[in-house]
């Protein structure tokens, strides 16, 4: 503050490069101690925990959630919120599968090619995002109530279309993303990791990614700097919808079916928000990154796995799961520093 301008600019070159790229190393690995602790706990709880196949299982189960978390994180960073991702996650694969599978598996009888089905899935995800974005950005409606309403509409459609039946005998290519493995490594995990890395790099090094932070941090300032704020927001809602649909496709492949429960009735949106927030994505916009979001997803995955391995009674598992998430939120707040605090 008292020093003069030019010298410190060069002096702190490395540190400033890091800060210039908006990297705060300490904050980004903030969850690492917690993860290590959980792994120790898991190892103590069950000898089956620290095995490659168990971790492959965690990866496969977390991949679908992770992809949705990427979408929700983007929406949170622009200062929005989308509760309906959980319904998109159910409806998009449901409609796609309905058009693909035979009548005997409760299909529509159209018997479309699975590739066409996947295309339809992506289009549905994008279209839902577009409608949400339109209502919120152009219609200037409150994002919470719009997407809450949308959640219920979509979940209703999901049940209505197939009268609460479960669609099965998904053709190979349709289920490939969720079911296949390369060696021990599930394809869904590979794809999810790629999505995280690509999104992380995009946010950090792409003009569009930086615009997302600017819009979330201060939309008026972003607009004054010539950024097309509305277009950025719309694009992010669309991307969120598409990512939720891809997550849903992974889940459908993993369980080889699309149930009426997938998404909304499983209540996955709580886990989506929890993973993002544990990972340091601010609900007020402008802050958050993919390393954090990924740590949040991994943390929830490991917690779920440990609860499974510990044979916690089914009657109690939700209470314990919820309590662990609340505890993790608190821990993330403590290790994440002041910037993760809510204003009182």
């Amino acid at each position: 503050m008292i020093s003069n301008s030019a010298a410190p600019l060069r002096g702190a070159a490395v540190g400033s490069w890091l800060r210039g790229a908006n990297i705060n190393v300490l904050r980004e690995v903030a969850l690492l101690p917690v993860l290590i602790l959980l792994i120790i706990v898991g190892t103590v709880v069950s000898p089956a925990f620290l095995t490659a196949s168990n971790f492959a299982g965690i990866g496969q189960q977390s991949a679908a959630l992770g992809v949705v978390v990427v979408g929700e994180s983007l929406i949170l960073i622009i200062g929005g919120m989308d509760l309906s991702l959980e319904s998109t996650y159910g409806l998009a694969p449901m409609v796609a599968a309905w058009l693909v599978v035979p009548v005997s598996a409760y299909g529509a009888g159209t018997d479309w090619s699975p590739y066409l089905g996947i295309l339809v899935l992506l289009v549905i995800g994008g279209a839902i995002g577009l409608i949400n974005g339109f209502l919120i950005v152009k219609g200037r409606l409150n994002g919470f109530i719009v997407t809450l309403g949308m959640t219920i509409v979509l979940a209703g459609l999901q049940n209505g279309i197939v009268k609460a039946q479960t669609l099965f005998s998904l053709p190979g290519p349709f289920g490939y993303l969720g079911a296949a493995s390369v060696g021990q490594v599930p394809v869904s995990l590979i794809v999810a990791v790629l999505i995280f890395v690509a999104t992380g790099l995009f946010l950090r090094y792409h003009r569009g990614g930086r615009a997302i932070y600017a819009v979330g941090g201060n939309p008026a300032a972003a607009r004054a700097a010539g950024i097309k704020v509305e277009r950025v927001k719309m694009a992010v809602y669309v991307a969120g919808g598409i990512l939720a649909a891809v997550g849903g496709l992974m889940e459908a492949g993993r369980v080889s079916a699309v149930t009426g429960q997938q998404g909304y009735q499983e209540g996955i949106i709580f886990n989506v928000f929890a993973a993002a927030v544990i990972g340091g994505v601010s609900l007020k916009g402008g802050r958050g990154n993919m390393i954090g979001a990924a740590s949040g997803v991994i943390l929830l995955g490991i917690v779920g796995d440990i609860l499974d391995l510990a044979n916690v009674s089914n009657y109690w598992i939700e209470a314990i799961d919820g309590a662990v998430i609340l505890f993790a939120l608190f821990l993330a707040r403590v290790v994440g520093g002041e910037s993760t605090a809510e204003e009182s």
Partner: protein, 509 residues
């Protein structure tokens, strides 16, 4: 001296650091009952920190605060603190949807509220100090000036005998500011101590008996204002070294070019805005020309700037840049066309607080900086920002420092850098020096004059007459219409003031 004897508020040896920044160093300050003490200093000199400590919001690292000889309450115990001292901040602390009476007693009502009594006590305070705002009015319906009165009344209602006024005239019109001075005199006359913080030195000379100067966290001067000249005060604020770039950038200093190309044409522009409406404004700005626009707060000065910059929509009329029409209400297209924009309120529109200096300064040129695929390297961003920030003598800990951490003047430099970065052919600057210290002010105005010398047109919309020294012409708006135009610098301050009131020159003479 209106009063003597024991100090009402006494600060001794106060130190305060934030990280490596020493915001205050061994500050001693005392205020007596009935005294109006001015506190001046450049942005970043430590005024805000001192105010936080005096308001009980921050605890000093060392040193003491005493009220009437007693040690001050624990920092953070605002209720007890406010029995002694209360601050009227620049940003209003009024709850708009509550009544005047509720705001005056906000947080100080008993558990069961007797509204009749609260209103009666509000009326008592108002009449005791000669204020005239009905207790039942909703604060939403009050003017900025009246809101300030409510805040002062709130301080007095708590029993505070020392009132800190932080930049109280920043949002006031001239007449309202005069009425404020009257109120300050009433307060001091009634034995209240006032700490008056301002960038406007003439105000300090007008109403403060004494003045204290902070520089780099140290109190460098405390003296009766009568014993000082304006230059003495500026010298104390700035210190011995004045940067070479702080020469006064008068319009006369620039070579007068012949008639150059018209950059901006505004034709019959009208707009409805809560900032003041426009009713058919036409004007033109040539390349290399600085055109000032001034007027009273609601005359439409800021609206004109915002509409030209595309930050606000029009209700009619046309804006042309180099002969090409610019679509109204689209900031992105206006910028693409070559219109730079320095907004009125930098906190609202000037920067993204938690992003770094380099990123904010280059926010307008991400397209140019990024590769064909849109990739943008932080190193390139920093390299692009460096010449801008050093030209504006921006003081920071590095290009990655979040802009929210900077002082007001340095934040404004980031906003200006962001505008200069995209090399606009027209710069719209709205009150670019508001809340900025003297030296930064000259740097900022100098950078605009420099941009004009480089061939840009500048539309400088400001109600601060001291900004207009760099202008080649000044257009005065009254009620959203062009009232008159001054074409020959230097401009006479009094003539300008008279014109902003809508009084024609002939009538005066």
């Amino acid at each position: 001296m209106t009063s003597s004897g024991q100090a009402l508020v006494e600060v001794t040896g106060v130190d305060k650091s934030f990280g490596t920044t020493r915001a205050l160093r061994g500050v001693d300050l005392s205020i007596r009952a009935g005294q109006c003490l001015g506190l001046v200093g450049r942005n970043g000199a430590g005024k805000s920190t001192l105010v936080s400590i005096l308001s009980g919001l921050a605890e000093p690292d060392a040193g003491t605060v005493r009220f009437g000889g007693q040690p001050a309450p624990r920092a953070g115990d605002i209720a007890r603190w406010q029995e002694w001292i209360a601050t009227v901040f620049q940003h209003s602390m009024i709850v708009a949807d509550l009544s005047v009476a509720e705001n005056v007693f906000l947080g100080a009502t008993p558990r069961l509220v007797n509204w009749r009594e609260v209103r009666a006590r509000t009326r008592d305070i108002m009449s005791e100090w000669g204020f005239d705002i009905p207790a039942q009015t909703l604060c939403r319906d009050l003017s900025v000036e009246q809101l300030q009165v409510v805040e002062i009344a709130r301080s007095l209602a708590r029993g505070a005998r020392c009132v800190v006024l932080d930049e109280p005239t920043a949002a006031l019109e001239r007449e309202a500011a005069k009425r404020l001075f009257e109120r300050v005199r009433q307060l001091t006359g009634g034995g209240v101590a006032v700490l008056y913080i301002s960038h406007h030195l003439e105000e300090v000379f007008e109403i403060c008996q004494d003045v204290a100067v902070l520089r780099d966290g140290q109190l460098v001067l405390t003296a009766p204002t009568a014993s000082l000249s304006r230059d003495d005060l500026v010298a104390a604020m700035v210190g011995d070294v004045r940067a070479p770039a702080t020469q006064r950038p008068g319009a006369a200093a620039r070579p007068k070019a012949g008639p150059s190309q018209v950059v901006l044409t505004v034709d019959n522009l009208s707009a409805d805005s809560h900032r003041g409406r426009l009713a058919g404004v036409s004007l033109a700005v040539r390349a290399g020309e600085v055109v000032g626009v001034t007027g009273l707060l609601s005359a439409g000065v800021a609206t004109l700037g915002r509409v030209v910059a595309g930050a606000e929509d029009t209700a009619g009329g046309e804006i042309r840049l180099r002969g090409r029409p610019v679509p109204a209400g689209r900031r992105d297209l206006a910028q693409r066309a070559g219109i730079g924009y320095i907004p009125e309120d930098r906190h609202a529109e000037g920067f993204v607080a938690h992003l770094g200096i380099a990123e904010n300064a280059t926010m307008t040129i991400t397209r140019q900086l990024s590769s064909r695929l849109g990739l943008l390297s932080p190193a390139r961003r920093i390299a692009a920002a460096e010449p801008l920030t050093s030209r504006l003598s921006l003081v920071s800990s590095g290009p990655g420092q979040p802009v929210g951490e900077l002082s007001g003047g340095n934040q404004q430099k980031v906003t200006v850098a962001r505008t200069l970065a995209h090399d606009p052919s027209l710069i719209v600057a709205i009150t670019p020096t508001r809340g900025v210290d003297v030296a930064s002010k000259e740097l900022l105005l100098g950078s605009l004059a420099e941009a004009a010398a480089g061939g840009a047109g500048v539309l400088l919309c400001s109600d601060e007459l001291s900004d207009l020294v760099i202008c080649d012409r000044v257009i005065v708006l009254v009620h959203g219409e062009v009232f008159t135009e001054f074409t020959e610098p230097p401009f006479d301050r009094d003539e300008l003031i008279v014109a902003t009131e809508g009084i024609a020159q002939e009538a005066v003479e």
